[in-house]
Symmetry: C2
Subunit: 272 residues, 2 copies
């Protein structure tokens, strides 16, 4: 493992590219190798056993590329399989739960924190357990929002779309009533609904997005392990997917916030 | 292959159980072996290549049970991989497209027929091509409704639910304007939205559901091949899934329309 090796990032699909966007800002001299399991997305309604199996295959694929660290840019994987990955991977591992809980802990003033995520993320109580470890006095409110990922994946993201607004209201009304002042967007798809969620929750609620905080945390891990790339080079990200790359460019542009030079290759993830 | 062998039915997930419900009515003396690919559901937004690969694995699993016929109770698989399955399987194959198109052909009076389905189903033009073969004068209108499956899978099925009604209006408004008198529900999940779709389309439009017609067609194929089970026995259906069977019973009850005796077993579909 050398400092010029890549950072391996994976997600159940393309939502994790919203985290890659932040990695490219925070760590501009690192090479990113991304795997999105588009052939088996979404993970959020699957069992713990299946999510763990898929996550280990995803990480095993990245390890073949001699990555120096592995990041699960996926709330579901981080919540359900994070401990297993940390224990079994031969390189430093980062999920999105710890960095995001850490920043929510710094942002909250009234100690009432909301978490939204997939069904698997919420039933794991990963964020809640982490936050209560940071401060046992916190009141943590959890809400699964299983329709948010399909909404985003099918282009329902506009803050003015009546369907988007109604689904958000259905899922978040009770959470809003609790008086949380901080809301963790516990899934890497959710930043695309950020404006609409902010409109509903109102000005008094800080939204915490996992991508940026995870990039900061990953930079810290690399620094501590003397693995930061100091060569000053710029690299083209390499993207890998498990379904065909048709339409990848436009969807990737949506999550990355821009068109960029990249390569994209289909692989057979079931072999890993 | 003997007449006492089972009928193998598969779907991307549990939507195909809405067809099994009809098979149990139409063919009460047949044993049903069902595989639902719950570890990789949904198929409807995936590429032709990936859908074909998954469908062949699903059918290969059923063949291990010495089934006398295989039914793809899935609009996506039937549309995208039907020809491949018909060619490669060593037992008679039935998809949902041909039986459903056949009945739509009998129902329409004004020759204007609508099709709704997943993105993969609609972009294959499977129903449209079949209908135009039956009658080149038909006007066929197609509409992908990619949010319908997630709606159903997350319990948004009530005809009075404002979200359900709005999503239906968003997808079906243009189709309604065309004046179709027949609408094919081209996905085995859609019968659960039947009431809400009927409310929107109005009394003048006949909805055609694939499950019942496919069961009738399958009975015909078995009769022609002298494979109908005439023993008079009743069998307990066997269900197999690729994710854990947690929560299977309640979801299965929803699609089957009742609780019933059954066995359910998890298998590793990637091995097939």
């Amino acid at each position: 493992m050398s400092c010029q090796d890549a950072i391996g990032v994976f997600d159940s699909g393309l939502g994790g590219l919203s985290a890659v966007k932040e990695f490219l800002h925070v760590l501009p001299n690192e090479k990113i190798i991304y795997f999105g399991d588009t052939g088996r997305v979404p993970y959020g309604n699957r069992s713990r056993e299946t999510i763990s199996k898929y996550a280990f295959q995803d990480a095993s694929f990245l390890l073949k590329h001699n990555v120096k660290t592995i990041v699960a840019a996926c709330g579901t994987v981080s919540s359900v399989a994070g401990d297993m990955l940390e224990e079994r991977l031969p390189v430093p591992y980062t999920g999105v739960v710890n960095p995001t809980a850490f920043i929510a802990d710094r942002k909250t003033k009234n100690g009432k924190i909301g978490i939204i995520g997939t069904a698997a993320t919420i039933s794991s109580h990963s964020y809640k357990l982490r936050l209560e470890k940071l401060n046992p006095k916190y009141k943590v409110y959890e809400q699964a929002c299983p329709l948010f990922v399909p909404l985003v994946e099918n282009g329902f993201i506009c803050r003015d779309d009546q369907i988007v607004r109604l689904v958000i209201r259905r899922y978040l009304s009770e959470l809003k009533e609790t008086g949380v002042d901080t809301l963790i967007l516990g899934c890497t798809h959710y930043p695309l609904l950020r404006d609409a969620i902010a409109d509903f929750m109102g000005d008094g609620v800080t939204l915490v997005d996992s991508g940026y905080e995870t990039a900061i945390y990953c930079a810290k891990i690399l620094r501590e392990n003397k693995l930061l790339n100091t060569s000053g080079e710029h690299y083209t990200p390499e993207f890998y997917v498990s379904d065909t790359p048709d339409g990848f460019k436009s969807v990737a542009g949506l999550f990355l916030g821009r068109d960029m030079e990249h390569t994209v290759t289909q692989i057979d993830i079931e072999q890993y």
